[in-house]
């Protein structure tokens, strides 16, 4: 008699707290790209992040093994928006499931529900997250610090690094808690109206800073000059009289249209531009 009671106490899932979610987020944040593989991408990282929570929820070895295994299917997303939100949602769904298992109820959160939720969110959130975090926020910090680096100051490297890491830790923490609180509904919050406004404003700020950087740092000028009936013509001076900064703008817009037509062929663009600039420099036009 006592033995049975003992066992059922042992198998009861523990309650998942805010602290557990924070810990899971930090574990995912650490593991993130370490086990990146061709066939599963970041599946193992998310699983490693959720491990302490799964251990708290599934006290029987077979259920724990099953939980570990179902989180090893293909998974790939962005670290904060995607990984943060999905860690939180998975924790809340697993908690519901563990309760159903313990009480011998029919399982509503089956493997398919768990995986489809993950798969449905990972792409959309990665798209937003990559564009905002890596593509915009990171470069806003760098744009601010670049002049310091050009003066030879260490702060030019330290500022964007520290600022971006703190930003990521904070944003991921926020999304993990949000995901946990809202369960499966978290996605609507992320793509909701207010968030959309913030994303839009950040995009504009990002583009604005790129304009400043382009004007300050792309150096394309003509070294072409010739003498016509005793008068010196310096092409760059003439260009500056009509539209200052026109050559760098032509190069950057040309590349932009190349990317929009052909997709993100960065290697080709790098090599192509190197050849074009090299030839033009060699024949004395640039």
């Amino acid at each position: 008699m006592t033995e049975i009671v003992q066992e059922s106490i042992d198998l009861k899932p523990e309650t998942i707290t805010k602290k557990d979610i924070t810990f899971a987020w930090l574990r995912w944040y650490y593991a993130n790209e370490i086990p990146h593989s061709f066939d599963r991408y970041l599946a193992a990282s998310l699983m490693w992040g959720l491990m302490p929570i799964l251990k708290k929820l599934y006290k029987s070895k077979s259920e724990l093994a099953a939980a570990y295994q179902r989180h090893l299917l293909f998974f790939n997303t962005q670290i904060t928006w995607g990984g943060g939100t999905i860690s939180g949602i998975m924790a809340s769904l697993e908690a519901v499931r563990a309760d159903e298992v313990y009480q011998n109820k029919p399982i509503s959160i089956d493997n398919d529900v768990l995986y489809n939720t993950k798969a449905g969110l990972m792409g959309a959130l990665a798209g937003i997250g990559d564009a905002i975090d890596s593509g915009t926020i990171q470069y806003i910090f760098i744009a601010i610090a670049l002049p310091w680096a050009q003066e030879g100051l260490a702060i030019g490297a330290l500022f964007p690094f520290v600022a971006f890491v703190l930003y990521q830790l904070f944003v991921g923490y926020y999304f993990a808690q949000l995901g946990f609180k809202l369960g499966r509904n978290a996605a609507t919050e992320v793509v909701g109206n207010k968030m959309q406004m913030i994303i839009e404003a950040l995009s504009i700020l990002g583009l604005f800073m790129m304009g400043i950087l382009a004007a300050s740092y792309i150096k394309v000028s003509s070294s072409l000059k010739f003498t016509l009936s005793g008068k010196d013509f310096i092409i760059q001076d003439t260009l500056d009289k009509i539209l200052p900064g026109v050559l760098p703008l032509v190069v950057v817009m040309g590349l932009y249209f190349y990317f929009s037509k052909k997709g993100l062929k960065v290697t080709k663009a790098l090599i192509g531009l190197t050849v074009i600039l090299g030839v033009l420099a060699a024949i004395g036009i640039l």
Partner: protein, 277 residues
């Protein structure tokens, strides 16, 4: 003559730093460490005891790698690896920052193949992870998910970087130094100055919405006009934030009033209907 060497210790420290970044063993912070050359440049500066010149060169390298990050995990070039080789070469050969950029590009491309090899190792290790998951072996999982991939990446990146730095960098620096001042350098400088456009164009493309290019153009001509005023980046960032805020605010007002309009109309209609009764 002493200056033209990379010491064993210098090569070792930089190699280990690169391995820590590329194995992603420093955690999520390696996202920005791998995609931007800045911190690697600083480390090289500290190791060579020349932070100012290392930072100036790194700033030039950063410009071509603006906007480089990996949607979906693939990346065309490895900024951290490129920097770890190009900055020592620039410091040893006393090169212009823009010329160092031309050295960085091929090294970075090479580095990306190495990173692919890392995925290959991890794919093999995945078999072990599956086995431990089946056994619910939590300690084993930490070993196969965290420890083993880091060890493999170190085995991959440390020797490669060490050879490139200890043997490669002085040779490249030598060759470049003996050609100083000629047409080759003019070409390298032109290429280096223009390649910054790749990173910026990429960022514009990634940030998205075609019609918003107008904000890029606004800022571009603003900066061209205001160049003699030496306005700081922080000031520009504040102006940019204000512009973005005004735009979103105005757009939202417009949307709200558009939503309100028909509602008012239908209310009026209802009132008319009520009167008719």
């Amino acid at each position: 003559m002493q200056e033209m060497h990379v010491t064993f210790l210098q090569a070792a420290i930089i190699s280990i730093w690169v391995a820590m970044v590329m194995s992603r063993g420093l955690g999520g912070a390696t996202l920005t460490l791998r995609f931007t050359p800045m911190m690697t440049g600083l480390i090289v500066g500290i190791v060579f005891n020349d932070i100012p010149n290392a930072m100036i060169t790194t700033a030039a390298i950063q410009l071509i790698y603006m906007g480089v990050f990996s949607p979906g995990g693939q990346m065309p070039s490895e900024p951290a690896i490129a920097t770890a080789v190009a900055v020592p070469v620039a410091l040893l050969g006393k090169m212009e920052p823009t010329a160092a950029v031309a050295v960085a590009v091929p090294v970075g491309l090479l580095g990306s193949y190495l990173y692919q090899l890392r995925f290959f190792f991890n794919t093999m290790i995945m078999k072990l992870t599956e086995k431990y998951a089946e056994e619910a072996n939590s300690k084993g999982l930490t070993f196969s998910i965290i420890v083993l991939p880091i060890i493999c990446s170190f085995a991959l990146f440390v020797p490669f970087m060490f050879v490139a730095l200890y043997f490669g960098a002085p040779i490249i620096a030598d060759v470049i130094k003996s050609n100083a001042g000629g047409l080759v350098f003019h070409i390298l400088n032109v290429i280096g100055g223009g390649l910054a456009a790749v990173g910026i164009a990429l960022t514009i493309y990634v940030i998205g919405k075609k019609s918003y290019i107008i904000f890029f153009l606004l800022a571009y001509f603003m900066a061209v006009i205001a160049k003699p005023l030496n306005i700081t980046m922080v000031t520009y960032a504040i102006v940019g934030a204000i512009v973005a805020f005004i735009f979103v605010l105005a757009k939202n007002e417009a949307v709200n009033s558009a939503v309100d309009q028909p509602r008012n109309n239908s209310n009026n209609n209802n009132q008319v209907d009520d009167d008719d009764y």
